[in-house]
Each structure stands twice: as C-alpha cells, then as structure tokens.
C-alpha cells in the first residue's frame, strides 16, 4: 500500500453532491487508506473467534465460508430477538435526514453512505428482504435487497467507517442510535472472520496479558518506573506505587495507553503524583491492566470476557472500591454494561473518598468512579494545593470524548478541574462540545495507520473546531479524558491544526499540583521549561 500523502487542501475538496445512481445501484468502492488490514489468524485463535481465514478487502474473493449467508441471516435473527434497540431501530426510521450532517465521517467524506441514516439502511434493506412481509413481496420498491457478497462488502466497509460515537442519536427524533446498528453489523462481520487486525491484536493481548498493548507484568511495572524517574527529576519526589497488592483500599484501572507513549504517559504521571500527594492506599494491577475494551468493537460476548478481569481482580485483592482512569469508551462500557455483565459487585463497598469523605452514591452499585469525579471532589473540598500559573504556557480547550458525553453525561467535572488547574481555558463552539461533541475520528479500533485518510477525514470536524479557537484565542492544547484521543488526536492536530498539543487532564493537574517537599519546579511533565523558567536548567 502506498503511503498516504494527500495534503489537507486536497482532502478539503469534499464533494457533497449525491451520485447519479441510486445508492442500491452504486457498488461499494473499497479505497486504500480508508480501511484497516484484516486480523491475523493467531489473534483470532486466542479468543476462539469463528471462521478464521485468509482474505484481503480489495480482493474479489473474500474466501467466505460456504454458508456465509445463512450465518449472517441467522445472526440478524438472533440479534433482533436479543436487542429491542436493534429490532425497533430496524423498523421505525422515517428517513427524515436529521442525522445526515451530524456524522463526522459524512462531514469529512461527503459519501452519502456515511450519513447515519444510509449506513443503517445498508443493513435495513437486508432486514426488510428477509424479515418483513412488505420487503419479501415488494422487494426493491419496499427498500429491500438481496444479501449478496457485494452487499456484505459494503456492510463491512461502512460499519468500519463508524466510530459508534452516538452523535446522530442525539439528534434523531426517535433516538435511533447508529452505534447499536454498527455494533450488530460488526458482530455479523465477526461471525464471518472479517475482523480488523487493529482490533483483534489488542483483544488477544488484553485477553492473555491483561492489556491492549500486550505489556507483560514486569513491563507494566518498568514502564511506570520510568515515569517515577521523570517525576523525581521534575519534583525531587520519588513516588512509590504498588502492584497487585492485596489489602489496598482502592484498585486503580486505567487504559494501557497511559502506560506507553506520549502524551499518555504524562497523564499517568499526573495520576501517580496526585495519588502520592494524597497518600492514597491504592494499587495498580498487572492482570487487570486495561480499562479500555476493544472487545466491545467485536462482540458483546468478547467485551464481557475482557471486562471480567476488573471485578475478578478487585475481589482477589480484597479492595474496597475501584477507581478508573481517563478514558472514553472504557467508561461507556463501565457505566452502561459492566454491572449488568459481571456484577453484582457485592464484595465491594460504595466508593468513598478517603480524603474528603464524599460517598459516591451515583456509583453505589457499580462501585467504580472516574478519576475526574474523584479529582473534582478533592478540589471542591480544597484538598489540593494548586498553582495554575504553571500551566500558563498552555491555552487550553476541552474535547468531550463521545462516550463520556453521550454514554455517561460527565460534562461539568472535567471543566471544573481544568478551570482550577489552568488560567487559560476556552470552549470550542457550542455545537461541537458537550452532547454535541465530535469524535476524534479514530475511535472503535479505527486508530490504525493504514486508514489514515479515513481518520483525517473523520477528524476534520473536531480539528476544525480546534482551529477556530486557535485562530481566535491562540489555543495550543486540547485537553481530554480519553486514551484514544491521546493516542490519535495528535495526528489529526498535526495534520489539520499544526502546533496544537494533546493532553490528558491529569497531566495538567500534575503540572499545577504543589506537592509537599517538592523542589522548585522548572519543568512541566513533558520536561519542557515552565513559563518564566526558560534557560534555568
């Protein structure tokens, strides 16, 4: 595959004109840089996924199992019976089009099949053909079509051009959630072994080694030790976290992205500094070393299998409650699925901050809270000594991550924290934040490198809003609470809004946090000079 070299100006020539041919008569054109490579057989074998075989998206023949059609149709039937959401959403769309220009992939590609309504119609047309009387009798007139290999390819292509961000569902008059439909569509492709490498790899890693990155226990520890060294360089304080420690009060689980690579590690340094300063009785786990859940992008069952470890480890270690790191889809899974899958966690206690005494009643069943809720409570109670001027070199905006926004509703806590640790905070335009926030463009396992055009196109609406605040207020930092954002937004920023950095909120906390006995700080967590301290070292 040739390298993706298109310039931003080229990508911005977006053609929103609809094709001359009807969408059912417009065959799918699987384009380079718009899709991810297939999964490796060994990764699928680890988790016993079905119908593992060799195939390539651009090939005519996908080497599908002989009874592929039966598998898909039975798969649809089973899911109609299991999920009312899927069943109702297959039936009630009136095609009003309110969702069309709400999708970041549609805005970035102009491809009508990226309008949420049409993405869903790709599957609805098959549903009508095989599961409704009207569709069986009237066929195409009723919007029904045969399931052919070409149709399957089209489903595959477009369900992996949706990041399940749920922005469309905010605007739909019936609350139709394309994420529900994409999830079913992806489960169907998974039944046929049509999984992506970038998803299957992390899933296999997480299953066997405890985290997406495949960090083995000693590497989890040594990665954190590197951070400890850096923290000592910056503050003169040596923090001392523990691993797999029984009897700790709190188990801390964060996405493994925070343990490897920038800017994720800066966020993790922020956690380490904060917990040390508080004297928190907590432990990391190398077994439950992943908060995120790429299984969620393959099937409900796989997601549950990966998620199992968090409660299991909390039970084994005998902690009282669980604290979760800054992540997006991790929190959709924790907030809306975990308790149902693997609860009830009756061996845990309702989370109670040992510092402020606040009892988190809103998590009284799940027994797990977001570290930003925890931090906001600390700040509100005046438990942290903060010097926001140490972030004065940053002009910050906040990117709500899709899942935290629309699958949880945490809007005020992160803003409260940022305003307390930074002096310069600017909101992006109101139609691009909070429940109307845009996806980074690379969620749901689409953060590979071979699909860079797709990512840049999908990232355009977010980047464009960042550009707006950069041009207007000089914003140079996009704060967020999502590991995928930290891993992928930088590429989008470099492409669309060069010179803009991406940072987790705990990095900003780490900068501002005045620790007991620290030396005079001259560097921020990136080991760059603090404002007014240039040339001090």
């Amino acid at each position: 595959m040739a390298k993706f070299t298109a310039k931003p100006a080229e990508l911005l020539k977006i053609d929103f004109k609809t094709p001359k041919t009807d969408w059912m008569d417009t065959p799918v054109n699987i384009r380079e840089h718009m899709y991810c490579h297939p999964a490796k057989a060994k990764d699928l074998e680890v988790v016993d996924f079905p119908n593992i075989h060799e195939w390539r998206p651009v090939d005519e023949n996908w080497n599908l199992p002989e009874n592929w059609k039966e598998i898909v149709l039975n798969g649809i039937k089973e899911r109609l019976q299991k999920y009312r959401s899927f069943h109702v959403f297959m039936d009630i769309c009136v095609r009003c089009g309110a969702c069309a220009d709400k999708c970041h992939f549609y805005l970035g590609t102009g491809d009508p099949k990226n309008m949420p309504v049409l993405r869903a119609e790709l599957l609805r047309s098959v549903y009508r053909k095989y599961f409704t009387t009207g569709g069986k009798i009237f066929g195409k007139t009723a919007g029904a079509r045969e399931l052919t290999e070409d149709v399957l390819k089209e489903l595959w292509y477009y369900f992996y051009q949706c990041t399940e961000c749920r922005r469309c569902s905010v605007f739909c008059p019936y609350g139709i959630d394309t994420a529900e439909i994409t999830m079913m569509g992806r489960e169907l492709t998974n039944l046929l072994g049509l999984q992506l490498g970038w998803i299957a790899g992390p899933v296999a890693n997480c299953y066997m080694k405890g985290n997406h990155l495949g960090l083995e226990p000693h590497t989890v520890k040594s990665n954190i030790e590197f951070m400890i060294d850096d923290i000592e360089t910056i503050t003169g304080i040596r923090v001392n976290p523990t691993f797999n420690r029984k009897g700790a009060e709190i188990l801390f689980v964060t996405p493994s992205g925070d343990l490897f690579g920038v800017p994720g590690v800066y966020t993790a340094m922020g956690y380490l500094m904060l917990f040390h300063e508080l004297g928190l009785d907590y432990t990391w786990s190398t077994y439950a070393s992943e908060g995120g859940n790429f299984g969620f992008f393959t099937s409900n069952e796989m997601a549950k299998r990966l998620n199992y470890k968090i409660y299991a480890e909390a039970k084994r270690l005998g902690v009282k409650w669980i604290l979760g790191g800054e992540c997006g889809h991790m929190w959709r899974v924790l907030h809306q699925y975990m308790d149902t899958w693997n609860g009830p966690a009756d061996f845990l206690e309702v989370p109670k901050s040992p510092i402020t005494g606040t009892v988190f009643e809103n998590a009284k069943s799940l027994k797990m809270i977001h570290v930003i809720e925890f931090a906001a409570d600390l700040i509100k109670h005046g438990k942290l000594k903060l010097d926001p001027s140490r972030n004065d070199h940053l002009k910050v905006t906040f990117h709500d991550s899709c899942n935290i926004a629309r699958g949880m509703g945490m809007f005020e806590e992160p803003r409260y924290v940022i305003k307390n640790v930074c002096n310069h905070f600017y909101e992006m335009p109101e139609n691009t934040i909070r429940e109307k926030t845009f996806c980074c463009g690379s969620g749901t396992g689409l953060n590979a490198s071979e699909n860079m055009e797709l990512r840049m196109r999908g990232g355009l609406p977010r980047a464009n809003a960042v550009k707006y605040v950069r041009d207007r207020y000089g914003v140079n930092t996009v704060a967020n609470i999502c590991a995928i954002d930290r891993a992928t937004l930088q590429a989008s920023m470099d492409y669309w809004v060069p010179g803009t950095a991406v940072a987790g909120i705990h990095e900003l906390i780490g900068n501002a946090l005045v620790m007991k006995g620290e030396k005079e700080r001259t560097q921020d967590l990136r080991l760059e000079p603090l404002p007014g301290k240039e040339g001090v070292e």
Binding site: R95, V170, F171, S222, T340, E412
Partner: protein
C-alpha cells in the same frame, strides 16, 4: 420511480374508489367492508407490532445521555436530558413525544470555502413536523363529531378555536390548511434536498401522497363540493354502532376520502408510520442514565469463557517474581 410509483398508486386508489362507487355501485364495499377491514387491520397490526418489539428484551442500560449526569451534590444534574428517576424519564419522553425535543436540536452543518465547517440553527423540519402532527391530531379529533351523537361539547370548543379566523362559510378550519401545507412542505423537502431525496424510498413518498390525497378530498368536501353531511353522519354513526347503513345521496368524493383513510389505517402497521409506537420503546430515550447507581439485569446474560488470574500467573510467575510483583503461588 421511487416517486412516480407511489404517486400513481395513490391516483389508482382514488380512481378505484370513484369507479367502484360511481361505476359499479359498490357503496357497501367502500363504505362499510373496507373501513371495517382497515380499522381491524390497524388495531390488530399495531398491537402485533408493538408486542413483537416488546418481546425483544432491553439487555443493557443504553440511554443516550444529552446532559449532565447525576453526580456530586454541588453539580447540577440535567434531569430531562440525563434522567435518573422514572419521573425524569416521563419528563424526557413527554418532551420527545409532545414537542419533538430531539428534532428541535437540529443544526445544519456546512463546509464553507472548503475550509470552515459551520453549524447553523435549522428548525424548519421541526416546525413542519410539529405543524403536521398537531394539525393532523386536531383534524382527527374534529372527526369525532361524525361518530358521536350528540356532539360532545369539547368539540365545539375545539372547533371554535380551530375556526377562530372566522373566514368564510362554512367557517375555515386552520388545521386543515396547515395539515396540507405541512405535508406539502415535507414532500417538497424530500424532493429538493438532494441528500434527503437520495435516502428516500417509495415507502416515504407513499404516505405523503396518501395524506395529501386525504387532506385534499377533505377540504374539497367541506368547502367546495358540498357533501350531504347528514348522509355522511348517518353512515359513520352506522359504522360506529355496528349497524351499517348506506344512505343515498352521498357523493363519490366522500367515498374516495374514506377509502384513502382506510388505506392509511391498513397500511399503518406495516410501515414506518409505526414510529408513533416505536418512539415509546426507544431504549436510548426511555431509560435512566444512572446505570452505575442501579444494576440492570440482562435476561439472557450467560457465562462466558474467561482468562483467569490463575492462568495469567501461571504464564508469568517467573517474570512477576523477578520484578518483585506479589504472586499467589511461590
């Protein structure tokens, strides 16, 4: 094709009624049999569809949260956009069903000068939707007059309100005009916005043409081709009291109107018009958002194969010991 087919289907239905009544004298068929069959299909069909949906469980708590969650006491929860109690959910659903709250949010996203994405308020669809649904509702309610003797007093009130412009004789009812205008707007919008036209199916045009036909014949009957209203009421009262009669002198236009209405009723359960029932069952809207506070039970939750800590330690024990990470078995 997608437009012409449903258009001619409706024309054909109109002709069928005209020929059936005027040519073949099938008054009983079009005035009694078809309406009964249609209402029967409607009731059974809607119940069947709703029960079929209801049979599929809602395994997970998947509310789309559109506002601040219930959290720390000093942070104000948005109870209508992120409900945490049944009362909040009823509020959210009421806003959705009665005021089309989500559609009211609509914004139009556009790429300007190939460089700036801008988002502007766009409430036309909401306005047309509200106008269409409410005027249709009032028109329907006004028709109760034909099925009740004596006419209930609240209908007089409704009619006074509906006809407050006091134009013409018989007095002009605003809702009839608004209904026709709104449904025409919805049709034209489908036709002229390229994206909406691209996604539209015959199944989207057919009900529009049908309703345009119904509204047009209704307006024609009331204001232009005067119909024997006493005869009409005789027929409708006969239907509702299950002792159908076919009075003489009721014009064909009435039978066309009645036939189109019957088709709409019969077509309803098999079509997208079921969104009326579906919206109540939409899990992203009718669930609370506080899924960490109360555990949702999935009726088909089943045990899954997992990778246990013991298996994990078995594989990495030596490495863990080397790194001084505590282990269960030495």
């Amino acid at each position: 094709m997608k437009i012409l087919f449903p258009f001619f289907a409706v024309i054909l239905l109109v002709l069928l009624a005209v020929v059936g009544v005027k040519g073949a004298n099938l008054h009983f068929l079009f005035g009694v049999v078809v309406p009964y069959a249609a209402v029967f299909t409607f009731i059974i069909g809607v119940i069947y569809r709703v029960l079929k949906w209801a049979k599929s469980p809602v395994p997970f708590s998947i509310a789309t949260t559109c506002g601040q969650q219930k959290t720390l006491p000093w942070i104000k929860q948005n109870k209508l956009e992120n409900p945490s109690s049944t009362l909040h959910v009823i509020g959210r659903m009421a806003l959705e069903v009665l005021l089309f709250r989500s559609l009211f949010r609509n914004i139009k996203g556009e790429l300007k000068d190939s460089s700036r994405l801008i988002y502007g308020s766009d409430k036309w669809l909401w306005l047309a939707g509200i106008a269409f649904h409410y005027s249709f509702l009032i028109v329907l309610l006004r028709h109760i007059r034909l099925f009740a003797e004596p006419t209930p007093s609240y209908l007089h009130l409704l009619e006074t309100f509906d006809g407050f412009l006091q134009i013409g004789a018989p007095r002009l009812f605003m809702t009839g005009v608004i209904l026709l205008a709104a449904v025409t707007f919805l049709f034209l919008r489908r036709l002229y916005i390229p994206q909406v036209r691209y996604i539209s199916l015959s199944a989207d045009y057919f009900p529009l043409f049908l309703i345009i036909g119904i509204a047009t014949t209704g307006i024609l009957m009331r204001y232009f081709l005067k119909t024997d209203i006493v005869g009409v009421k005789e027929l409708t009262m006969g239907l509702v009291s299950l002792s159908p009669v076919i009075p003489k002198g009721v014009g064909a236009i009435f039978y066309v109107h009645l036939f189109l209405v019957s088709i709409l009723f019969a077509y309803f359960p098999f079509s997208k018009l079921m969104h009326m029932g579906g919206v109540f069952l939409s899990p992203t809207r009718n669930l609370t958002g506080n899924s960490r506070e109360y555990r949702r039970i999935n009726p088909w939750n089943y045990p899954v194969k997992v990778h246990t800590y013991e298996e994990y330690e078995e594989e990495f024990r030596d490495k863990m010991k080397m790194a001084e990470i505590p282990v269960e078995k030495e």
